[in-house]
């Protein structure tokens, strides 16, 4: 599944992996674009899999004309050895019939890397929130049991809110509680898989709706940065994330002058 760009496989032992779930508003993917672009992370490999729709394009994080012609595919791995950070960026939806197989391959790749923890950035439909979720922050988290032991307290200190469980039968009191992340793509299933496989995983998600989700991406990444400290927060103002050039023209080409 993982194919290195250079000769020899890089080691991710002791690293933190951040990856997106293809979810409503593509917020996880946008947030990761900000991380890769701001930290100038070099590409170390591809996730060559038949589970994702194919796509190719030129370098989405180009800083100059020279590196603009580097080809990018639908799933790539970037790494920052100083921060012990590895990022998997997924750029296309998962093929419907291959969702389970993709999850399995991902979990087995995560296990083989020897990571300290994995962070899944995701989102959920804002219109599906229940009464409690309508109030306060729109950011939520989840920790697998193995990571709860290590990071549970820190996350509490940061004031993060855990994703609420929903009753299976809403009108019946005391009915079974279950996790429900509508619009989250593989989030719930991957989280459940990681709980079963005893993998240290955190999920950070935001409630949002489809539209211009750039602001949601900034909210999510600043929230994540409070915990992971990828970039130092300046005393005044917020962290300056670099918007990649691939974010231009998100809503179509320029306006034809003939319509005026």
């Amino acid at each position: 599944m993982f194919i290195s760009t250079g000769s020899g496989d890089p080691s991710f032992k002791g690293f933190t992996l951040i990856m997106p779930a293809v979810s409503v508003g593509n917020v996880g993917q946008l947030a990761l674009d900000l991380i890769i672009s701001t930290l100038n992370m070099p590409k170390v490999g591809y996730l060559h899999t038949d589970c994702l729709i194919p796509m190719a394009g030129n370098n989405p994080y180009a800083t100059s004309a020279e590196d603009a012609s580097q080809l990018s595919t639908n799933a790539e791995v970037y790494s920052h050895s100083d921060l012990k950070l590895v990022v998997l960026q997924i750029r296309t939806p998962i093929i419907q019939t291959k969702v389970r197989s993709f999850r399995k391959s991902l979990v087995s790749w995560i296990k083989s890397c020897g990571l300290v923890k994995t962070v899944l950035l995701s989102s959920s439909h804002a219109y599906q929130r229940d009464d409690r979720q309508l109030l306060g922050t729109s950011l939520r988290y989840l920790l697998t049991p193995s990571l709860q032991k290590v990071e549970g307290q820190r996350v509490e200190e940061l004031g993060w809110r855990e994703m609420e469980r929903i009753s299976v039968f809403p009108d019946i009191p005391d009915s079974e509680q279950r996790l429900y992340i509508p619009g989250g793509g593989v989030t719930k299933a991957l989280y459940t898989d990681c709980c079963t496989e005893d993998i240290s995983m955190a999920v950070a998600l935001i409630f949002c709706s489809e539209g211009d989700n750039i602001a949601d991406a900034f909210m999510l990444i600043n929230h994540l940065n409070d915990w992971l400290r990828l970039l130092e927060k300046p005393t005044q103002g917020s962290v300056q994330w670099r918007v990649p050039p691939s974010w231009s023209l998100l809503f179509g080409s320029g306006i034809p002058p003939l319509i005026f």
């Binding site: 194919i3 293809v22 979810s23 409503v24 508003g25 593509n26 591809y46 060559h48 899999t49 038949d50 729709i53 194919p54 796509m55 190719a56 394009g57 030129n58 370098n59 989405p60 180009a62 603009a68 012609s69 580097q70 080809l71 595919t73 639908n74 296309t92 939806p93 093929i95 019939t97 291959k98 969702v99 389970r100 439909h125 429900y180 992340i181 509508p182 619009g183 989250g184 793509g185 719930k188 299933a189 489809e210 050039p245 691939s246 974010w247 231009s248 023209l249 998100l250 179509g252 080409s253 320029g254 306006i255 034809p256 002058p257």
Partner: protein, 279 residues
């Protein structure tokens, strides 16, 4: 999403639904049905003669996808003669005409993916793909087709159509500049590129993306020439645009630079307004 008048494209919603059914009881019958469907949708490369099914040695592989690209290769390259059909890619999906896979050679005129080899120089091959390859078959198609040729000294050129509506530019393109070519190449491709590279934020999808991704990951030199056109049917002006893409390969591939109108008529279609709201 509607592009041209009356034409509706299916566009995937980014909002992804949770798939709760996935983990419910999967019995043996479900598994078997799933396996049978997978088998039915599998992609296979088949050869006309039974002799050589090992890796074919190939220095240049040209793949044409889309009505204009395939029309160009047929009218400008295959019409020169000296090419023989050596194989085809057999696959089945919902848009295939038959109800199940047929393992016999495709009939001319039917949508198909046919592999041609140059008679005097068998290391030059061409794949003309007029049939629809579904999303879940794209990866397999690239693996199987590129897997049947030897990687050593291989260069892949892909010609592919695209609608102009998919091209994003900050200043609006006037009608005069279409059709035009844009290229994408792998890291190991060192040859000349006949047109500007595709600027961000534009991307390619479909068969050309699957082939290019495969080549990038396996370090095969490859280039995709994407032709953006505002005409949806096969048209001679769009086909002519591809000439620039193959000019660099003129040593290996003989091109008829001015095919006669009889030849062109076989592959182009004049737009007939069949029905609209006003008739």
């Amino acid at each position: 999403m509607a592009t041209f008048f009356g034409e509706v494209l299916s566009v995937y919603s980014r909002a992804v639904e949770e798939d709760d059914d996935d983990d419910l009881t999967q019995n043996e019958e479900d598994e078997q049905i799933r396996r049978e469907i997978e088998e039915k949708r599998s992609v296979r490369v088949q050869w006309m003669s039974q002799t050589d099914t090992r890796s074919v040695s190939c220095s240049h592989l040209i793949i044409a996808v889309g009505l204009n690209a395939t029309g160009f290769t047929s009218a400008y390259v295959l019409s020169c003669g000296g090419w023989s059909a050596v194989g085809w890619v057999s696959l089945w999906n919902e848009r295939s005409h038959s109800s199940s896979r047929t393992d016999s050679a495709p009939v001319p005129g039917q949508p198909a993916c046919v592999l041609y080899q140059q008679e005097h120089n068998p290391s030059v091959m061409m794949c003309v793909c007029t049939c629809y390859v579904a999303e879940d078959q794209l990866f397999q198609w690239a693996e199987k087709v590129l897997g049947c040729v030897q990687k050593r000294a291989l260069t892949v050129t892909v010609l592919s159509d695209c609608v102009l509506a998919e091209y994003k530019a900050s200043d609006y393109l006037s009608g005069n500049s279409t059709p035009f070519l844009r290229a994408l190449k792998t890291a190991t491709y060192t040859g000349a590129v006949a047109c500007p590279l595709l600027e961000q934020p534009n991307i390619i999808t479909g068969l050309s993306a699957a082939v290019l991704s495969h080549c990038q990951v396996h370090q095969i030199p490859a280039v995709v020439y994407q032709c953006y056109s505002d005409v949806t049917h096969p048209d001679s002006v769009t086909m002519e645009t591809y000439k620039a893409a193959l000019t660099g390969l003129s040593a290996a591939v003989k091109m008829n630079r001015c095919p006669t109108s009889e030849i062109l008529q076989k592959f182009t279609r004049v737009s007939e307004v069949q029905s609209n709201l006003y008739t």
